[in-house]
Amino acid sequence: MATLRDIKRRIKGVKNTQQITKAMKMVAAARLRRAQENILNARPYSKKIAEVLQHLLSSEKNFNNPFFTEREIKKVAVVVVTSDRGLCGSFNMSVIRTVEEIAKGALSLFNNEGNLFLYCVGKKGNDYFTKRNYNVVGSYPGIFSHLKFEFASGLMKELMNKYQNGEIDKVFVVYNEFKSVIQQKTETEQILPIQSFEEKEESSRLTDYIYEPDKGKIISALLPKHLKAQMWRILLDSYAAELGARMTAMDMATENAKELIRSLQLTYNKERQASITKEILEIVSGANALKET
């Protein structure tokens, strides 16, 4: 049976854990606010680029760019976006599971022949896939603590280079989309070749622009920028989603600790009561025994 001291020690331990989870929740909340700000800051750029591109492409129907054309697929790359740290619920597992699913399902043909390349952003996914039998060609652990646009653009540049050299024929990204603070959604997105732009109603803006130097050059200059902005958006989204997931997970942990402390306190009080009763009983019976003699 647990003695009073044991129970007390456990309560203290749980309280310590609770303090940590509480602090982690606060930290995640503060960082989340900043991450959300970053998303908002990045949005106008990618939105405008997409708009301008869409406008250009709608007036240039027969434009031919390798980034758009589907070709015979021999090699596929998947960018796996996970977090660097744990303690964020099912955040990483859901990405990893999705990747494994497509690696063993839709892309098993490529996987079996070693033509499925993984680019692992974030430590957790990297740890998981390098330990198993996967062809991990790019590892980028520890980038989320100081996330910079340069990283997104560098990664995208490498993918674009390989795509253009025919080393990869298709690129997917698997990541967690930031829906709201309490909701994340694991998404699989194809980023290369570019699938058609979302049509918007206002696309029929018929303006005669002066083009400098010319339309084609502007399109080919904008396309990589668009792709980089997209990668940047994905990373920001994933980071915000991670923090959101951690916040919820830590909130739940704090709640659970609270519940545990409550029940432990109850047993502690009962135990204490019992020991006092026992003591009184002993004293009374002792006194009685003295009286009788």
Binding site: K48, I49, V52, F149, E212, P213, K217, I218, A221, K225
Partner: protein
């Protein structure tokens, strides 16, 4: 007052937003100035400086690492790869990258992709340093 609305945005944030009298940008075919009622234009930008004259006649300068500019209906949208106001430029960093780029250019033969990158980085660094000096 005949004003145009200017917005300069980079991938990480919006750098400038407001009404101005004129803006000069480093276009692909040379610098050009945009005033009220400019014809619609879509141009790519080179490494260089963006000059703005705001409503009060004050001049603001930015260093840019290239991008695209769209002018339509007296609205100017600069989609810059990077843009820093003159007083925000980190001179120390620019000097360092200048040195690094110089070393790289000196150390290897011409033609490969790294050379082009080093060249561009050198230009950017020089651009930044120049704008701080002025």
């Amino acid at each position: 007052m005949k004003e145009i609305f200017v917005e300069i945005i980079t991938p990480s944030k919006s750098v400038f937003k407001g009404k101005v009298i004129s803006i000069t940008v480093p276009g692909a075919l040379g610098n050009f100035q945009v005033l009220f009622n400019h014809a619609p234009i879509l141009s790519s930008l080179e490494i260089g400086r963006i000059k703005i004259e705001d409503e009060k006649g004050e001049k603001i300068e930015f260093a840019t690492g290239g991008g695209t500019v769209e002018v339509i209906d007296n609205k100017v949208l600069v989609l810059a790869d990077s843009a820093e106001a003159a007083d925000e430029i980190d001179l120390e960093r620019a000097k360092n990258s200048y040195k690094r780029a110089k070393e790289r250019l000196a150390s290897r033969g011409k033609g490969d992709i790294d050379m082009i990158r080093a060249e561009l980085s050198l230009q950017r660094a020089m651009n930044r340093m120049k704008i701080v000096r002025d």
